[in-house]
């Protein structure tokens, strides 16, 4: 293929983009809408994951120390816990601290003058929340540990919920990815269809399949690219607006900061462009058979 032919392809693609006026706009609109839909679900799904991680990371193990154990032994136990694989953080909570916290929880006056019944304890955070049961078991075996609690049952439930959140998020995202692909390729197919006569004429003049196809491919790419850019711009604006609103009004929920989406936008851009190009490239096929 000659360089001038490539130049011709690009010129042709651009010229057609403008000559087809609102048809091009309609395609760009379709790409943009489809990607806004997919992008929204992507964002929701990623935020689901983020919130799930947040919740999971709050899971911790409480290891109660036997009353008989002295200061030195406690240091030793702390060291032992720390050296368990997967332990991220160990905090010692003395009898006194525990009472203070308990008083705050229950109400000071109720416990006034009662002898402190609470033991010393460690609060242990693990690296991967799913390992909590294993780590708890190993802590249990350490000499001087009376009892280990990690919300057995509740933690499993929590993991089940977060697991399902993630699974449903992914499944829904996959479905909507498919729908988006369908909407984009569908629209492009119809626009190519409405130019089938043109395509057949080109073939009758002696154009090869690829000579007809390339400008369409490039045109599709440009449509897809423009549509994706619009989608990304709208998504970014919408999300940062939502983010600020949520941050101001519902400070207890923390959404993923927008910066985390930069890589994903590149993915969306690529998706739109590739779909535009291939949508055109494939739809044209059956009209080339003349």
């Amino acid at each position: 293929m000659k360089l001038r032919t490539i130049r011709y392809f690009f010129r042709e693609a651009f010229v057609n983009l403008f000559r087809n006026g609102w048809m091009s706009l309609a395609s760009i609109g379709a790409v943009a809408s489809a990607l806004i839909i997919f992008g929204s679900f992507l964002m929701i799904s990623i935020n689901f994951d983020y919130i799930a991680k947040n919740v999971e990371s709050q899971v911790e193990i409480t290891a109660y120390v036997e009353d008989s154990v002295d200061k030195l032994k406690i240091n030793q136990i702390e060291y032992n816990i720390k050296s368990i694989d997967g332990v991220k953080e160990v905090v010692f909570v003395s009898k006194e601290q525990a009472l203070e916290e308990f008083k705050k929880q229950v109400g000071e006056e109720l416990l006034e003058g009662i002898e402190n019944p609470l033991p010393n304890s460690f609060r242990v955070k693990v690296e991967t929340p799913q390992e909590v049961a294993g780590v708890a078991e190993r802590i249990q075996k350490i000499d001087g540990i009376e009892e280990v609690k990690y919300g057995k049952g509740v933690v499993e439930k929590l993991f089940k919920i977060t697991y399902w959140m993630r699974l449903v998020g992914l499944a829904v995202m996959a479905i909507f990815a498919a729908i988006s692909v369908f909407i984009i390729s569908n629209t492009i197919k119809i626009t190519v269809f409405s130019r089938r006569r043109e395509i057949s004429i080109m073939k009758y003049i002696g154009a090869t399949d690829w000579f007809v196809r390339w400008p369409f491919l490039i045109e599709g790419m440009l449509l897809g690219f423009t549509g994706s850019l619009i989608a990304i711009a709208l998504l970014a604006t919408g999300y940062s607006y939502l983010y600020d609103m949520v941050k101001m009004n519902v400070p207890m929920i923390s959404l993923l900061p927008i910066e985390e989406f930069y890589d994903y936008s590149l993915g969306l851009l690529l998706m739109g462009t590739v779909l535009g190009a291939f949508g055109s490239g494939f739809s044209i096929r059956k009209f080339l058979r003349v």
Partner: protein
Amino acid sequence: MQHIIEMVGVSKIYPGGCAALKDINVKIGKGEFVFLVGPTGAGKSTFLKLLFREELPTRGQIFINGKNITRLKPKEVPYLRRRLGVVFQDFRLLPQKTVYENVAFAMEVIEASPREIRRRVPKVIEMVGLSHKMNSRPHELSGGEQQRAALARALVNNPDVIIADEPTGNLDPDTSWEIMKLLDEINKKGTTLIVATHAKELVDAMKKRVLQLEDGRLVRDEERGVYCCET
């Protein structure tokens, strides 16, 4: 004389059952000028469509330059078509392109150089007398102007064979004459010409070989023939 086109036992039955051509056997030599005549629906357009592979024959073989074009792979078809210049009965101009761009497109297809395109296209448009409409789109042209634009596109690449399906159907007698003279000149330079037409006077005056179709059959093949009113 070498045969550039040869049809052997060609029949064409359209899906639906219409037998448009029945057992056609014909040889056309290099550099010949052939008129294809016959009443409406006789199969003239079908005959021409077989040559540039718009349609495939139901039976029989067609050779162009000795090559059997009924056996062409889809990939080879464009290269066949490039050696033929076709004026379609329904023009088939690209609706979004101007006359200039339509003609230039035929050259872009064969990857001609931009300089060559800029040189040749206006010349051919001038030849068919359409210089003043160079930048008009097809829908802004009169019927005759569209027809001449289609002719210019067929001529522009100096093809071996020019196939013209009623190239003067929308033209007044004077302009038709000019177009015929132009085709005759091109023929004199060695291009083979096959022209389907209803223009009795032109056929009679030109005294070229005449192939007459009637109801799908080749009923007459006459050197220096006339249109002939009765068969």
